[in-house]
């Protein structure tokens, strides 16, 4: 059934002369857990509310399955929303909140009771049926909102930063629950968030937005490993950038001359010619550091000398900021080192101001831009 797929066609929107959505087009597949990720002001919430029907587009169209829903009012769309503040009805019990959509449709009491109980069970709130929302915790309120939205059996569920009001531990837990519910129910989820961790952990695909435009759409690993540009690379996780002029090409690899790091070998993810200026990105966890020169190196490894400038300990990992080369300007190069390394044969402890080798495989870098 391809009914729950959403097609966004050339959607644009301005508020008070400011362009909030700039000619956006993409498609969300039926049954996907699709995240829209971006900083505040990027337009993600506006887009979501447009799909829900609360905002009218200035131009373009939105399709749900085969139907053009661009001009439909929210109550006529087969789409339901989880609001950021949950928007539970304070004057109704949890039971009645969840029953609300069915009461609108004037189903009989027996049917309503059966359905409501089923969804109460699904979100594990059966014993709280007669409570009011003011008596519930944040996580419980969200579960009520989910049950209430799903009981209508919509084709798409929209989630507007549903976890932002929860504390960190609870967020993790609820994220997993959302994932489970998505598995169970199987409908399309469109999840808006500013938290890249959340998006990376549960999405089938992510759209990264900035200033009203979609910068990249891809699976979490595509976005992480092959970011479309520097903004996406920096927004998702942390990264290093190396810029330089291409001086040589050898099969699948190239060499660039960088003012700070010298001659660097990199994999050709895009086509370049000698003389191009390029920008690479390397994830910190791909960069290894070691006090003694590693024994197993090959042609494809880049190896530099550096000094530990800063160390940040975070429990399960440490971040090392290393100054490399002639220290022209303050070029820091961050690297992660898992503490699990301490169990290796040549495990060593690294200290501030230690001289270290910085190594990474040229296949692990990603060619971002050819300038």
């Amino acid at each position: 059934m391809k009914q729950g797929n959403i097609k966004i066609n050339s959607i644009s929107k301005s508020f008070d002369g400011v362009e909030v959505l700039k000619n956006i087009s993409f498609e969300i597949k039926d049954g996907e857990f699709f995240s829209i990720l971006g900083g505040s002001g990027c337009g993600k919430t506006t887009l979501l509310r447009m799909i829900a029907g609360f905002i009218e587009a200035d131009g373009g169209a939105i399709y749900l399955g085969k139907d053009d829903i661009t001009c439909l009012s929210p109550d006529k769309r087969d789409v339901n929303t989880i609001f950021q503040t949950y928007a539970l009805f304070p004057h109704l019990t949890i039971y009645e909140n969840i029953a609300f959509p069915l009461r609108l449709k004037k189903l009989n009491n027996i049917e309503i009771d059966r359905e409501v109980k089923k969804y109460l069970e699904m979100v594990k709130l059966s014993e709280h049926a007669n409570k009011y929302s003011s008596q519930l915790s944040g996580g419980q309120k969200q579960r009520v909102a989910i049950a209430r939205a799903l009981i209508n059996k919509p084709k798409v569920l929209l989630l507007d930063e549903p976890l932002s009001a929860l504390d960190a531990k609870l967020r993790q837990h609820m994220l997993i629950e959302l994932d489970n519910i998505h598995e169970e129910v199987g409908i399309t989820f469109v999840f808006v968030t500013h938290d890249q961790q959340e998006a990376l952990s549960v999405s089938d695909r992510i759209a990264v937005m900035k200033d009203g435009e979609v910068l990249q759409i891809g699976t979490p690993s595509e976005i992480y490993e092959s970011p479309a540009n520097a903004y996406v690379a920096n927004f998702i996780g942390e990264t290093n950038f190396i810029e330089g002029k291409v001086v040589d090409i050898e099969g699948k690899f190239g060499y660039l001359e960088s003012s700070n790091y010298g001659r660097i070998k990199f994999e050709l993810d895009k086509e370049v010619v000698v003389g191009n200026f390029v920008k690479l990105t390397i994830r910190p966890e791909k960069v290894k550091i070691s006090k003694s020169k590693p024994r197993y190196l090959d042609d494809n490894d880049n190896i530099l000398n550096g000094k530990i400038e800063e160390m940040i300990y975070s429990g399960f990992q440490s971040k090392f900021f290393v100054t490399v080369g002639n220290n022209v300007g303050d070029k820091l190069f961050s690297a992660f080192k898992q503490h699990v390394d301490f169990f290796e044969e040549d495990a060593e402890s690294i200290h501030w101001k230690d001289e270290v080798y910085v190594i990474w495989d040229s296949a692990d870098s990603f060619l971002l831009e050819v300038m």
Binding site: A52, G53, F54, S73, P74, D75, V79, N80, T81, F83, Q84, T85, A87, L88, F89, P90, H91, F100, P101, R103, L104, K105, R148, A149, N152
Partner: protein
């Protein structure tokens, strides 16, 4: 703490100022004599009040009738008006904002005079109906502002949620907006009843012969000097008002829980 003592003194004097005349009335209502001089304790004025003042009770009944009907109509009209001002745009919005604010600040007499001239110029007979129309008119802005102030703090997302879940405008209004607006609506209703029961000036101008409200009746009693019953009536009204105020507080407490 000079400032503190100064304001405390002013406060006490103000309290005395506010309550003294009322205390005098209460005491005098039990005064057997007709004048101010104390002639012994008596309940005879209460007896006069309850048993021999048919016209007074008639005007009281009219007051209640008009208060209830004008309160209900003005609350309904005012509540819908407040909702439209808070959440919708329409061509005459600015016009509505101005004309709903003005009646609150203009002196009563202007409204009384203009309604009298209106009614007589279209040859509408003065009577209970004109009083009802007048009372509803001055009640509407009060209801509007009371409900509007409630709407400022109203979480609109629950209305959006209702639409999202399939509610039509009417369903959203009756099943979500009005139930959550109830405290404001009740406040508006009570305010309207109070204003209507108490009104003198506007009623004075638009009442016809034979249609008297309690304030009008009291006025004529004062003018014609039938004094001691007024004392007894005053006490009854004061006691009744306080009882009503206390019970509405209790009802509101109950509703919050």
């Amino acid at each position: 703490m000079n400032k503190k003592k100064f304001s405390l003194n002013i406060f006490i004097l103000t309290l005395i100022f506010l309550y003294l005349p009322l205390v005098v009335l209460i005491v005098q209502s039990f005064n057997s004599g007709m004048g101010v001089a104390w002639d012994g304790f008596s309940l005879k004025w209460y007896d006069e009040l309850f048993n021999h003042s048919a016209r007074l009770w008639q005007s009281f009944r009219y007051s209640i009738l008009i208060a209830l009907t004008s309160a209900i109509i003005s609350t309904a009209i005012g509540t819908l008006g407040a909702i439209s001002l808070q959440w919708y745009s329409f061509k005459h919005k600015k016009y509505l904002q101005v004309i709903s604010y003005l009646p609150l600040v203009l002196p009563d007499i202007i409204m009384g005079v203009s309604l009298l001239i209106l009614f007589t110029s279209i040859k509408f007979k003065l009577g209970l109906m004109t009083i009802f129309l007048a009372h509803t008119t001055f009640n509407i802005p009060f209801v509007l502002f009371i409900v509007l102030s409630r709407l400022y703090d109203f979480d609109y997302s629950i209305v959006e949620a209702a639409y999202d879940l399939g509610a039509t405008e009417k369903q959203a209004l009756t099943k979500v907006i009005l139930p959550n607006l109830m405290p404001g609506i009740i406040s508006g209703l009570l305010m309207s009843i109070t204003l209507s029961l108490d009104d003198f000036v506007i009623t004075f101008f638009v009442a016809g012969p034979g249609s008297s409200t309690l304030p009008l009746h009291i006025y004529s009693m004062i003018k014609f000097g039938v004094s001691p019953i007024i004392n007894a009536l005053s006490v009854i009204l004061i006691a009744g008002t306080i009882a009503l105020a206390m019970s509405t507080k209790k009802i509101q407490k109950y509703m919050v829980n």
